[in-house]
């Protein structure tokens, strides 16, 4: 077993896939923290599902299978989906959850139709567009990793640069506006970064599971930290650890698909954190309640 792990660690393909998955974890963990705090996790889910027809449309238009071209299509459709959801909420009496469900399922359905159609195209034989549904980390190439690194570096740098503004926007947008910050543009920027993070991840874990990568590390990190920077940092670490662990597991057991295994790993971290974290964990709360009750009872008994 140990030998298998060691030889795997030296394997070039494994290194590439693990690095890509770890990068995805870092990016989605950091950006996901803001999404969770601003209650935009569901919007993220809508964006990732909406991205699917973008992949197919990009391929149908260009007949090119290069990742960056497919992801560009995904990016544009992801934005369109987000604008459609927010636009419906703003200009009609339809509530957010209905608008989300509508746009998400319609665009995801459209994506499936277009994917099936494009599979029949002459040069589509091994286009492998289906990998964007559930993700297929094993198809990551070295150039995909470079692309992820470039996007990830830009994303993290912008977050660091606008740290104070994003923090204020997430906590109290109205106060930020009263201080004179252009909250409309800040909101747009942060949403843009979020969409970019989502699109970067769909090749690895797929549009269906991507929102788990945004939400689970952030939710887990919040359990262990009371400061925003620590939360974002921990979320990035949890995301990266799940990426590597998921890649390792799926490489050792060949029938396991990488993307879903990564999501299972990150979910386990979240579940553990929800149960066992100090202060905010379920167990701690139960313990405290029992302790309070016991103290109350002894106090009463000593009175009698």
């Amino acid at each position: 077993m140990m030998e298998a792990v060691l030889s795997l660690l030296g394997d070039y393909t494994f290194q590439i896939v693990a690095l890509g998955s770890a990068l995805l974890g870092v990016i989605s963990g950091a950006l996901g923290s803001f999404a969770v705090l601003r209650r935009q996790s569901l919007l993220g889910d809508g964006v990732s599902h909406a991205a699917l027809p973008g992949v197919a449309i990009a391929f149908l238009l260009t007949h090119d299978k290069k990742t960056e071209i497919l992801l560009l299509g995904a990016l544009l459709m992801g934005f369109l989906g987000a604008f459609a959801i927010l636009g419906i909420v703003r200009h009609s009496r339809v509530k957010f959850d209905s608008a989300l469900a509508l746009v998400m399922s319609v665009l995801f359905g459209l994506g499936l139709v277009l994917l099936t159609y494009s599979q029949k195209m002459p040069n589509a034989g091994q286009a492998g567009l289906k990998r964007f549904i559930y993700g297929q980390a094993s198809t990551l190439l070295q150039r995909d990793i470079f692309l992820m690194m470039a996007i990830g570096t830009v994303l993290l740098l912008v977050v660091i640069l606008f740290w104070k503004e994003f923090k204020l926007l997430s906590f109290d947008p109205e106060f930020a506006a009263a201080l004179g910050f252009n909250t409309g543009k800040l909101d747009l920027l942060l949403s843009f970064l979020l969409v970019l993070a989502i699109i970067t991840g769909i090749q690895t874990v797929g549009v269906v599971l991507m929102s788990a990568m945004l939400t689970a590390p952030a939710v887990a990190a919040r359990q262990w930290s009371n400061r925003l920077w620590l939360m974002a940092l921990l979320a990035a670490v949890f995301g990266a650890a799940s990426g590597v662990a998921g890649t390792l597991l799926s490489s050792l057991v060949p029938v396991l698909p990488t993307g879903p295994v990564i999501v299972v790993c990150v979910t386990l971290i979240a579940a553990f954190s929800l149960l066992f974290a100090p202060e905010r964990g379920v167990l701690h709360r139960v313990y405290r309640r029992l302790k309070n009750r016991a103290q109350f009872q002894t106090a009463r008994e000593s009175k009698i």
Binding site: L37, L161, F162, W163, K164, E165, K167, L168, S170, F171, D172, E174, F175, A176, A177, A178, L179, G180, F181, R222, S225, N226, R227, L228, L230, M231
Partner: protein
């Protein structure tokens, strides 16, 4: 008639949500260095008025003019204390973090708060009686403590005009007293303080000036001149009788 030195003027302000007007052609002048109450029944547009004055809501028409403070520096001359229920207090931040946010406008884009801001925040926390709470997680605060943290966040702005949206809401008697003392201190420094207020019983004790609102301006002037039965009746409709003790 005395001519006052006005800090801010509102001209013909009309604000509507979904075409339904909330404020109709409101014109008001607020004098400098006074404690000003904005009163009126629920739905009278009190919060809407201060949000429109702060440019947080786009009015349908009308003008808001701040005197003596123009252009780029304007935002730093104005401080805002929103209702404490307007944010999620489970946000991962400490009391100190939140108070320092009051300096973000002075810092401007990209610049990070440092030692100077931290010291200012500690001093301001002392002023609102929260000195022991600097490193406390904000989710652990009571309603009155949340209100005082928001107050500290506004005080640290060192503004000329303060807008406060129901700072006494959900606050115990002792906190209310200490907030009133702070308001008087601000007045002593010639600051203008505009407060959305609900408790008519305390208007005469706490404030110099009152604007009575019910979608339109019912009265605006010195408390001893305009805060009377007749205007209250007009602002609150038939409920005037219930308020007898207030005047």
């Amino acid at each position: 008639m005395i001519e006052y030195d006005y800090a801010v003027e509102v001209h013909d302000l009309t604000v509507a949500y979904d075409k339904k007007p909330v404020l109709r052609e409101v014109s008001l002048k607020f004098p400098k260095g006074k404690l000003i109450a904005v009163v009126g029944p629920n739905g009278a547009g009190k919060t809407t008025l201060i949000k429109a004055m702060l440019n947080l809501i786009k009015p349908v028409s009308g003008l808001v003019i701040f005197k003596d403070s123009e252009g780029a520096g304007l935002k730093n001359k104005i401080a805002y204390v929103p209702q404490s229920g307007s944010v999620d207090w489970d946000f991962p931040a400490t009391v100190l973090d939140v108070v320092i946010m009051g300096r973000y406008g002075h810092l401007g884009w990209f610049k990070r708060p440092g030692k100077a801001e931290k010291n200012m925040a500690l001093e301001t926390l002392h002023k609102v009686g929260m000195q022991g709470y600097a490193s406390r997680q904000i989710s652990q605060l009571s309603g009155g403590q949340q209100q005082r943290v928001f107050l500290a966040r506004a005080l640290i702005q060192q503004a000329d005009i303060y807008f406060m949206d129901e700072p006494f809401k959900g606050v115990d008697a002792q906190t209310e007293k200490s907030i009133v003392a702070l308001l008087k201190e601000l007045k002593g420094q010639r600051k203008t303080v505009i407060v959305v207020h609900h408790d008519l019983q305390t208007v005469s004790d706490y404030f110099d000036w009152v604007a009575m609102l019910n979608m339109q301006v019912v009265a605006n002037g010195l408390v001893e001149e305009v805060f009377n039965e007749e205007n209250l009746g007009q602002a609150y409709g038939g409920k005037g009788l219930l308020l007898k003790g207030a005047v």
